[in-house]
Symmetry: C2
Subunit: 425 residues, 2 copies
């Protein structure tokens, strides 16, 4: 038993679990790369100002922040967006648009750990800069759909609830310009799965009169299957703009093959203030993972707000912890086990030949282990078993005198003698 | 121009450079995995005590250390060894031996940045726990040799200078038990490429008499080609133990196919105090990269010293920055360029078909981009060029009316018409 422990909210990953995590990360990244997203590398530590200027000074309370030995106020980065904004701002003139970037790495927040929330957490950031077209948002959604499918999820395991962050507020404003829009939206948020009447009551509590409240709830219900109704029944240009942007994205998702995964959910309004247009959240269709798996959307003002050029942007950042929850719920989390193609078992003075066979097989791309413990036959076989070796090659002195080795299939236990030359090309 | 900069000693990696770095990391990790090393994941932040107990309180001055919001003294990890020691200690009973772990990640030190040294730096840690046999050290060396070769280096681009950390000190002690061993070793270190006479002078300055000094230098010269001489000409059991351990490792490197990369260099004594036996450093044979590329060796006491079980260990941690220097010196650093298999160019109202072709090709594993900017023919072609697309597929309305698309080879400029069905299986 060690006298040391990892810090609260930080995790050690041992090989079995890491093998599964690596498989998931590799799958996600391979899909993302096929969409033409390019990997970037970014610092773990940034000037605190980069985050304070984006989110206000109170953000520091939720971060690992400190003053470094040179007197700089720094933070362990809680998210990637300010960093990529900085990088885009510094070099955008030299780069062709769209700029499509991804990266997978750890981030840190000083928050109370809870289920699937850690102080150190991993996510893959996927962003497109320089396009304000609906195709860019549709591509992000299509990429998310593809990567979840590639992870083994079925079409009915997940859905993207798509919205536009202005629709709710513009609708409330059009119905009753004097209403407290924020309070009304929170009322609707609270009643995500409530009945019509319950939501009306909440809205009345939020200060709307009953007829207006009823009208909002009815319109939202109708619009969730057909957004045109919301255009036909209202007369408010900024509301219509938002609806039309959402319709354009949904039309593009049809062409991009991801429309079937998208549902209209006008009450989805991502918490982050920097979103500017169409937003979405991925949910477990079965509801077992209660919270949003991940979210994303358009943030057209942020780069400029952080001192950069005017630069539309859309992105998403799936986190490994909630994805793990979803994959386990759907029973498609990879097997947590190490895999080994060959164990080379040394009997007697055969180390040179055994090592040569190992080299040969590694050169062919196999995962190969051999004895580095000077152990007995039995102990070596036990170890081969413990690392899930598919095949053990037994290199014995007597066999070798006749130019032979023994190949043991570790699953069936079947053994065959083969000429050693077959393994020394 | 942005108002923000990365912190001093921290780096942003844009896609072109990152593509090359990723290729290098992938190559290293693929070789390491074939040796049966298993990936682990580890925290960026650890309790400061873990490092103070290993290296003394003064280490904190070189680290990013701070007190977190819960009052814990923490550090951004400057190296992996204490963390893996902690992990081994916590779970060694459940794990079969040898424990073979690797991981690639960033570490942090608050030091003055200089050429190829950064405050945030990346390295791949490769360790074997549980074996004190020479084969374990030989396997680490063989793995290093293979990964450097896999990176494109020629046999004469690099060498491993192998030593045993006790040989020098035991030799000095045997020659003159009253000499200041530390001072004598530093004298020898300082004169790494000096003449015989210069080294003798340094040793005399360090307090040895001239005959003893001359004898040490002669023995070291002779031993570098034949360690047996050092055994024959001395009579000091603990010196002989160290020499025999070194000989055993060198013998094993012969069987493991890496002996040709190893030279005996008894003046190589890795700076880190925790090494206990055979140590080595990788050098640029051409000497252009002046410093050691990376080093490693046996550290049999550290796990126990950190509160764990008695557990022999041997490891190495190649850093990406010095490896980059060596690969560039040898002119085998990967091309820093993005690669794209297909760009799908949309002309007119063909988005749905273009997107379907993109989906099909991505499903076959290709890197594919299409228009998310609503751009003209010429702008799209320019963009396809900027992302180094090998092939552009032009999906035009008129072509499509006849069931055809145009395939343009971006290198030759050659265009052929093909049936669209060939891309929609």
């Amino acid at each position: 038993m060690s006298m040391y422990e990892p810090l609260k909210g930080f995790r050690d990953f041992y090989p079995d679990e890491m093998e599964a995590r690596r498989e998931v990360i590799d799958t996600i990244e391979s899909v993302v790369r096929r969409y033409g997203f390019r990997e970037i590398g970014t610092p773990a530590l940034e000037p605190a100002a980069l985050f304070i200027d984006k989110s206000g000074p109170e953000i520091v309370e939720e971060l690992y922040s400190f003053t470094d030995k040179g007197g700089r106020d720094v933070v362990l980065t809680p998210e990637l967006t300010p960093t990529v904004a900085r990088m885009v701002a510094a070099n955008h003139q030299a780069m062709s648009k769209p700029i499509k970037w991804y990266s997978t790495r750890a981030f840190w927040r000083y928050e109370e750990p809870q289920q699937a929330r850690f102080r150190e957490f991993y996510q893959t950031n996927i962003d497109i800069f320089g396009s304000s077209e609906p195709e860019a948002t549709a591509e992000i959604l299509a990429c998310c759909g593809d990567l979840l499918t590639a992870l083994g999820l079925a079409d009915d395991d997940f859905e993207f609830r798509v919205s536009h962050r202005d629709i709710l507020s513009e609708l409330v404003e059009w119905i009753d310009a004097d209403a407290d829009t924020g309070e009304a939206i929170r009322a609707i948020d609270r009643t995500d799965r409530a009945t019509h009447a319950e939501t009306v009551t909440e809205l009345v509590d939020a200060g709307l009169d009953e007829a207006d409240a009823d009208r909002i709830v009815t319109l939202l219900e109708d619009a969730s299957s057909d957004l045109d109704i919301l255009i036909d029944e209202t007369d408010h240009p900024s509301l219509h703009d938002a609806i039309e942007q959402l319709i354009a994205v949904l039309d593009a998702t049809r062409d991009y093959g991801v429309r079937e995964h998208c549902s209209i959910s006008l009450t989805t309004a991502r918490g982050l203030d920097y979103y500017t247009g169409v937003v979405f959240e991925c949910f477990d269709t079965q509801g077992e993972v209660g919270r949003s798996i991940f979210g994303g959307g358009r943030y057209d003002d942020l780069i400029e707000g952080l001192g950069g050029p005017s630069m539309p942007a859309v992105g998403v950042a799936p986190g490994l912890a909630p994805i793990t929850q979803l994959l386990k719920r759907a029973d498609v989390w990879p097997v947590e086990a190490q895999e080994t193609d060959y164990y080379i078992l040394v009997v007697g003075d055969t180390r040179a030949v055994a090592a040569q066979i190992a080299r040969q097989l590694r050169g062919e791309g196999y995962v190969v282990e051999n004895d580095v413990m000077d152990r007995s036959f039995g102990s070596q076989l036990e170890y081969a078993d413990s690392i899930n070796a598919k095949t053990t090659i037994i290199v014995g002195e007597r066999d070798l005198a006749e130019g032979m080795i023994t190949v043991k299939d570790m699953e069936t236990g079947e053994q065959t003698q083969e000429p050693v030359d077959a393994f020394l090309k």
